[in-house]
Amino acid sequence: MKIIETLGLTRKFGDFTANDSISFAVEQGEIKAIVGENGAGKTTLVNMLYGLSKPTKGEIRIGGQPVKFNSPTDAIEKGLGMVHQHFKLAPGLTVYENVLLGIELRHKNLPFIDRAKQEQAVQKVIQKYHFKLDARAKVEDLSVGERQRVEILKMLYREVEVLILDEPTAVLTPQEVEQLIESLKDLKRQGKTIILITHKLGEVMALADTVTVIRRGKVVGEVDRREASEIQLAQMMVGRDVLLQIEKEEEDKTGNPVVYRLEDIATQNMMGKEVISNISLSIRKGEILGIAGVEGNGQSELIKVITGMMLSTRGKITFKDKDLTNSWPRQIRDRSIGIIAEDRYAEGLCDSMSIADNLIAGYHYRSDVCRHGIMQKKMIDQKRDRLIGECDIRMADKEGYVSQLSGGNAQKLIIAREFDQNPELLLACQPTRGVDIGSIEFIHKRILKLAAKGTAVLLISSELTEVMSLSDRIAVMYQGRIIATVHKKETGTTELGLLMAGVVPDLLKRKREVTT
């Protein structure tokens, strides 16, 4: 029986279509994986299934009956429970208080909560599902894996038939992942249906019965796990519709001196968990090193460390033999290193400031626009006009705010700004994310030109084709480490796809790694 079915489900935010006519079905008692890159539309889809968001068009059917959810409580009533990626728990409260949130048990005659009753009720459910938890423990004292179990328990207590888990292993250690996989298999045996949203192909292969692949808001494939291979799944997830062929001069850069080096860089998140480890790489003058990998494998943290926005807990960063470890962004730019930040609107630009103001940011203290501490408006405007022309940035009002620009033009603005300084090293992070084809072409050409002139480039991107067409060498990140670094000429999409999924092909194991 199809326990959940969606028919032509669409969600728009203004002009942007996050989910485009998605139709898929989940059989009762199966484990279905929904895979896709970040931004593909998985979370939007699931928010609609759970009543956190209303569809613009289309229908959801539970057990064959069409339903309309106005809030999560409606979804829970129909037997759907969701375990969010960012836990919705109150750390200072106990397990049983969190599980029973909204459905507290009271004393018979007094208006107070009956703590003993609540504790017993929750402990009973814990035992039923073989979780190992103490109902009286405070959530803040629990490990991440245990907290996740509390989230799952919240739903199981409410007797849901379908559990939706959103990126459940993103925050778990390998052992905790093992435990979770066991628990989910156990739940399936007890008759529950599970929908797993993830981009980690390893888990998909271990758990799923069927897989639905989503890319850019559309369903691009439905496979039975037994018939698919990881390679196929990887390709479905990351491939682009249009392969951009870039004319690249293939020069041998191995004779050039190494200008940028990372040695054993690592850092940890707020909860003390190490999110990147043993990151070592080197880049030669004029060389483009691309870091490929599915988003969420530590790239963001690595970017933050190399751009000076996060401290590394050990290791060294050197540029032209000068130690740059844990330098601030200002010091990095002063060394003639250009930074294209990962998030265009949160970090690269200020969308409530003018185009001119954004074009000078990061270099606004230099003598071409600032004399004796006073900003020189005429010179700033001249610079703006020049750069707009050079990069063909389209806008309605050149005095207006940056918010008027399209994604591609905004990104070109950042490129214009950084390239104008003729940096000797460029840190390009997700440089064409959310950008139109024409601008992508422009940006790629500029990067290649820069490299041809001798600038070393570190390109971090989750678009495999971009990494492949631009780079001389490619490093692949997986779970916070670099698992391989190869020459572009000696590899192909297949091998890279496997590496991105965490699989190191035998061939590679026998080859000598071309690294630092």
Partner: protein, 357 residues
Amino acid sequence: MTGKKSILLSLYNSILPVLAAFVVGGVIVALYGENPLNIYGIMLRGTLFSLKGFMKTLHFAAPLILTGLAIAITFKANVFNMGVEGQMLGGAYFACVLGFSLTGLPPVLHVTVCLLAGVAAGVLLVIIPALLKAYFRVNEMVVTLMMNYAIFEILRVLSQSLFQDPILGDVSTPSILPSAMFTKLGGSYITLFFPLVILVFAIMYVVIKKSRLGYEVTAIGKNPMFAEISGMNVRRKIMYMMIISGALSGLAGAGYMMSEKFKYTLTFSGVPGLGWDGMLIALLGRHNPVGILIAAIFFAALKTGADTISIFSDVPKEIVGIIQGVMILFLAIDFVNAQTGWFKKMTAKMGRKGAQA
């Protein structure tokens, strides 16, 4: 959104609360049996439409311009120095103490020393909250707010003991010496403090609008991550801004002491206090130097006008405090934002013109 549109938005968000406050005040006045327009007319005539009145208004506007700027400069960066009142009182006190203890100094020197003391006091009082915010991310709002009351109590104790006026007793310091006072110019209220304030205002205008610090402060206020990754060293800039804010507050207190009050008592700062008036002015002026100048003069007119009201009618002058309170209440929110229906319609015409540029 374009620059022009945002200026219009700011204007609306400042003027509407003022009008609303005057309507509320007008209703109360009407309940009193008086004609609101009459009352408001009396107020304005005494303060803005007569030369003597206008001079008096400018005189009282002087410290308000400074406290307004003190608040605005930090607010622009989303840092909230709530301690302007306390820093102002500290500045006034230091200036006062040096004003009556240093004898035998020529006036120019005495005045300068006292003003500098005021500035120093303001800076000293803001350093700890500034460091805590910049380097340890402590909530500066609560810390500076609480320090106001601590400072007030300490100054009260000092005025009852160490620096007490032997003749008057209770909470009062001796008067400062004539050599430390700003003398009234001509026959009017105004002193040299006012042109000094205008000079400081001009400097702050250049700093906020045209300097690198002003650019960085604006960026930090709008998007601090962007500012940090663009190398603006946010921690240091926060320190600079808090220090400037403290300095301006201290100067305001010192100048007010030396041009109007001449000694420290419990009623030195009035109700609710020059620092809080500065908050209202900064809000009204949308944290913009020119806006603050206009708001300060308008507000000083309101305050000095309160006295004329009580002379010419039965309405108690506390009505001004009520109008002030209503203004702040309405200024706490944005009446109009980019999404409001009638604003969108009105500015749609502007958009089309701009697109042709």
